[in-house]
Chain length 434, copies 2
């Protein structure tokens, strides 16, 4: 059967990863497909000075992506530039020229994936995007096809490797967040401006994308309740362990009643669960379905080769669909329509809670806090206090029975005003039922 | 787009699960496909007395499967009888009549899957088998398509839910294997004849099937080194925990040199790994690739609805391929050819080991054992002895550095003859490097 010709635009980390795999794994790729994936052209602004694998020495090497998207011999274009500027032009130009597109671009897909897919469908070509979320985990394929017979009710995810690395370090060594972050920046595990990671914005884009595949709706990432990990401290892990839990930046999407509750925030997760065992710069997704799917997926969230595997696997799927006449057999979202939807007001969600307080020690603290909780009809589960290290800012914990979030927030606002409070109370959901 | 008509043969656990999902999830299935999956006919020996979902009340109900495989209006047949008798006739008859087949039949596929697929290919129809291994985990889809760009080097699996349930109970309650097995039989979690499960035969069939998808070779299950869990005792867990490990029936397939080492046997797995956190009647697969895939999949191994999800997801894939003209876009094994292969001699494999001894207490035991180990040039890592409960048959443990298995077996045979040995030594691989 005839080769499929691939053009690769962007030779950063992911592009070089994909290229390496296409060169070094060419034999097995052909054994799987029954034909070859041929790298016909590569493009980057510095392509000519790059050290490219010898196996692709016959490829056109260019610094102008238009030479690739307009090339009559190229069947599929892999857009691996990232961002929403030139990347969008590359994708749109390739589709306009009747070529299928594989992309690793989370930003572009979260922003405009549905529209881009519609345009591809109108041209009779394919859009594939496995690499856009959880690079090393085939979570799109699993949700879109592997367990598509089920109706997903809940998705839990650990979707930001940087946060998971930082939290694991805080947990293992009892080092403060700021110090761990500085060290992670020094090692190149965290960006100079870490906000996208540690404040949860990266994770919420990914959650929005996963939700569209799991539930078939389009959610604006900005509408997802989001809180980062800056306030998580070593003492929180010590209390969490007392409760048999660890703390992770938990992305959660639950179908309840007539809508979805979505949130990205630090939460307590039982240590004995597979989700609680995810350490370091890994990602994981737990999907629970109405009909028995209770599946968990784990792997590298990013990195040159893991994301390269996702790109190459997508290229193989598109190539199969090209050769067997089935372009568009499945929408990249798994649903034939992805209507926009508003998440449910997170204030209506009911969870158990972990509240950590730092106070100036004085009599009557528990009395004052429990009076406020009683006023809002919130039930206390337990009061925990470890032997204190620092009496100037004594940390202790109250866990709450199931409490509607808006109610809790009102009570927390009242508590924050109490004169013995040296820090606003820090609340995390306690996900014992995972 | 036109409906796809499904015929279901076999209304046991899995058949009823699939039927329930097809009825109750029909709306979302249509939203995903863009057309409906219509249950046109069902067959079982007692079909007419079954309580079928009202939603499929228009279906032909028959006790003769030939009415389904010969039915001109049926596009896909789901064979959910199991076994290799009538099931084989159903599959062959459906294919001969030009219908695609979805099956949950591990026995039949392990025995003759490649041949059946070739026959389907020759007729231009499809064979789908996601439900045949790890019912609730979309592991076929992940290996065959999701991470197909990688070259898998190692597969670890927990593939038998009954064994994992028994081992978890032995671990949690310190109860002896026999008692846990009897209770599992009482509860219906284990068969009256438990041999297929607890002696590892079920798991080795599954490993053989997974190996064909991961490595593209056909392995005779009987050629896989197999040892069951009957000898695993509560004391082994106490020692394993001292080493930071748990014990699971580990299915392992590693590509080393020019071949595959395959084994199914109890092994020590670090508690801090995701594989070590798999408890109860769950299955899990860990795949490590040459190019960065280090992915882990977890879910229900069996059960009416979880396996039903796999069957329905397969029906949806086949239906998509039917409607988009792409039957045979991908082989059910992910490779276009599956040659037969012999596993490498497990005796050549080198691992760390955990040896547990029960001896009659007398002086010179360690001296005698270590003399034998020295004679075979086997390095001792540690000698462990918990405070003993029963001095008549004192259990203690020796862990070994990397040792070639044939060498270890020779040393163990020598040790078994020592007059203080009250039980032959029990050896398990110590998989610290997972």
């Amino acid at each position: 059967m005839q080769d499929v010709n691939v053009g690769i635009v962007g030779l950063g980390n992911v592009g070089i990863g994909a290229l390496t795999i296409l060169a070094e794994n060419a034999g097995q790729i052909a054994a799987k497909l029954g034909f070859r994936l041929n790298v016909a052209a590569v493009c980057s602004r510095t392509a000519k000075s790059k050290n490219l694998p010898a196996a692709i020495s016959n490829a056109l090497v260019t610094e102008d992506w238009r030479e690739i998207t307009a090339h009559p011999g190229i069947d599929v274009v892999a857009e691996l530039i990232g961002g929403t500027g030139a990347a969008r032009e590359v994708v749109e130009s390739a589709i306009a020229n009747g070529k299928s597109v594989v992309t690793a671009n989370k930003e572009l897909i979260a922003l405009d994936g549905v529209e881009i897919w519609r345009r591809a469908a109108a041209k009779g070509v394919e859009l594939a995007m496995e690499a856009s979320v959880c690079g090393g985990i085939p979570i799109h394929a699993a949700l879109r096809e592997g367990i598509c017979g089920d109706r997903i009710e809940t998705i839990f995810g650990i979707l930001n490797g940087t946060c998971n690395y930082i939290l694991t370090e805080v947990e293992k060594h009892g080092t403060a967040f700021d110090l761990v972050l500085a060290e992670a920046q020094r090692l190149g595990y965290a960006e100079a401006d870490p906000s996208a990671d540690v404040d949860g914005f990266d994770a919420r884009s990914k959650l929005s994308l996963l939700a569209s595949i799991a539930f078939g709706v389009r959610i604006d990432p900005a509408s997802i309740a989001t809180e980062g990990i800056r306030r998580v401290s070593p003492i929180d892990f010590r209390y969490a362990h007392q409760l048999g839990c660890t703390i992770r930046l938990l992305c959660s999407a639950r179908h309840e009643g007539d809508g979805l509750f979505l949130s990205v925030r630090p939460a307590l997760i039982p240590l004995t669960t597979v989700l609680g065992s995810v350490q370091g710069a890994y990602n994981a997704v737990w999907a629970k379905g109405a009909f028995g799917a209770d599946t968990f997926y784990y792997g590298r969230g990013a990195g040159s080769l893991p994301t390269g595997v996702a790109v190459v696997s997508d290229l193989m799927q598109v190539a199969r669909d090209l050769r067997f006449g089935s372009l568009q057999r499945v929408s990249p979202f798994g649903f034939t329509d992805i209507p926009g939807a508003e998440p449910r007001d997170i204030g209506e969600q009911s969870r158990e809670w972990f509240l950590r307080f730092r106070v100036k020690d004085q009599p009557g603290i528990i009395a004052a806090l429990s009076a406020i909780l009683a006023e809002y009809h919130i039930g206390i589960d337990a009061v925990l206090q470890l032997p204190a290290e620092d009496w100037r800012s004594l940390p202790f914990v109250i866990t709450l029975e199931n409490t509607v979030e808006s109610n809790l927030r009102a009570a927390l606002a009242r508590m924050a005003e109490l004169d013995f409070m040296s820090d606003p109370p820090f609340a995390m959901p306690l996900e014992r039922g995972l």
